[in-house]
Symmetry: C2
Subunit: 267 residues, 2 copies
């Protein structure tokens, strides 16, 4: 059972994990160096703990305690109970979904572990927006994908905002970081996956035709701005496109990935 | 040709259209009462002017002038030239995509005008997030939809953030506001549309089956939180669902609308 610890000063060192949550650059350092990540909102906190992540601590206003009582039962981490004003002072924003949790960041899984038995995986190159990473995880999970692989520069799926937008899909969907950017797609091909890169480039085939009949599929998505790198686009087995109305630039990456995952799930 | 007007004080009344752009509630009043809307970023400003919206004025730092020179050629509205610091002081945020324009909000089109010749329309009930409204417009435009209809309480597609996320799709896709919430869907049925409501509810059919063979289609989307109202869900001709993996709540509305539009475009 978590110990309930009232805290009344924003300077209290025990609140260090929760400071300045809107300062993305600061948080990247804090979370990497202390090996932690933050979950926000009753539903997401619950999913993190139920998925087996070790809580370092919780932080919430008193009125959020009853809703998470059963979750707090299962852990020995302290629960710092603060006023809503104090929560806002520490975190730098109004925590309108109440509960926060700081959890231990587990070691990265190996590629072999993540790919074992996987039939459909998503591969994200340099998606830089945490919102988009979360949305892609959520769509992948909804469409029955088995895993997500991230290029070295892709945004962190355990960042608070990724988790929140993904509704905790990052907890249920196995993922890891690809160690080698240059060889990433050939490595997957060598492991028996057909790599299908979503692109706006020429010489691509409609996504339905591209994925038809593929057994082990790696669906490859590029960054928000300029899409896939030339290296990844060229080193994929197949280049696919979502047919669009004339004169339209593109779908955003969250929309495109949802469509591509939907089509791939029906291949 | 727009007159270039250097402005050096944040208090200058000529900058009134651009004040406190992050204050959503304030902006709703300002923009409704003065009949204006804001476009942000070189690409979006260009699209707004090229789509025929009347510019009231422009505001930009000097370095953004060359990129929009051809657009400024076509208008008599003043272009306020400010330092980046002054732009930030007035708007309340760092305008990292440079240009802003204030444009006259045109009168709403009639339902008859928007629906004339339309084969595929989107109908949004109470989507409250401007980002989602923009994403839905963008996906609808990409998938060849002909129009968008908004319930009385749906968020404003001409709000700065909707326009930006939609990459200006709100300029190319005809839209209007439905005057009557209660009768909205039966009114569309009476006009010859089959209304297909996207829902998580029971008694719904997979979206591919739901839209197959429909001529004039109205695809109906609910709000982010609790989906469609009971009234709209019941008064639609067909209830459809996107098949998902077990244990997943839902796709977010932007992802779900992209998938549904994609499937509908292939009906």
């Amino acid at each position: 059972m978590a110990e309930l610890v009232p805290v009344e000063s924003a300077d209290d060192d025990r609140l260090a994990d929760y400071r300045d949550l809107r300062d993305v650059e600061l948080r990247k350092h804090v979370e990497a160096e202390h090996g932690l990540f933050l979950a926000e909102g009753e539903k997401v906190v619950r999913r993190a703990v139920e998925a087996g992540y070790d809580a370092r601590s919780f932080l919430m206003a008193e009125r959020w305690l009853p809703g998470l009582a059963d979750v707090l039962e299962t852990t020995d981490a302290p629960c710092y109970v603060v006023s809503e004003a104090l929560a806002e002072e520490v975190t730098g924003f109004h925590v309108h979904r109440g509960a926060l949790a700081s959890l231990a960041r587990p070691p990265l899984r190996s590629l072999a572990e993540v790919l074992a038995d996987a039939r459909s995986v998503l591969v994200l190159e340099d998606i830089v927006d945490h919102t988009n990473v979360g949305a892609v995880f959520r769509s992948g999970a909804a469409m029955g994908f088995d895993a997500v692989l991230l290029a070295p520069r892709c945004a962190d799926p355990l960042y608070r905002r990724s988790i929140k937008v993904g509704m905790g899909a990052v907890f249920s969907l196995p993922w890891t970081r690809l160690p080698d950017w240059y060889a990433a797609l050939p490595t997957l091909s060598a492991r028996g996956f057909t790599t299908v890169a979503l692109t706006l480039g020429e010489h691509s085939v409609p996504i339905e035709d591209a994925v038809r009949g593929i057994g082990r599929l790696a669906l490859v998505l590029g960054s928000e701005g300029h899409g896939l790198s030339e290296r990844w686009e060229r080193s994929a087995d197949v280049r696919a496109t979502i047919p669009m109305a004339p004169g339209i630039d593109s779908l955003n990456v969250a929309a495109a990935s949802a469509v591509a995952c939907y089509v791939a799930a029906r291949r």
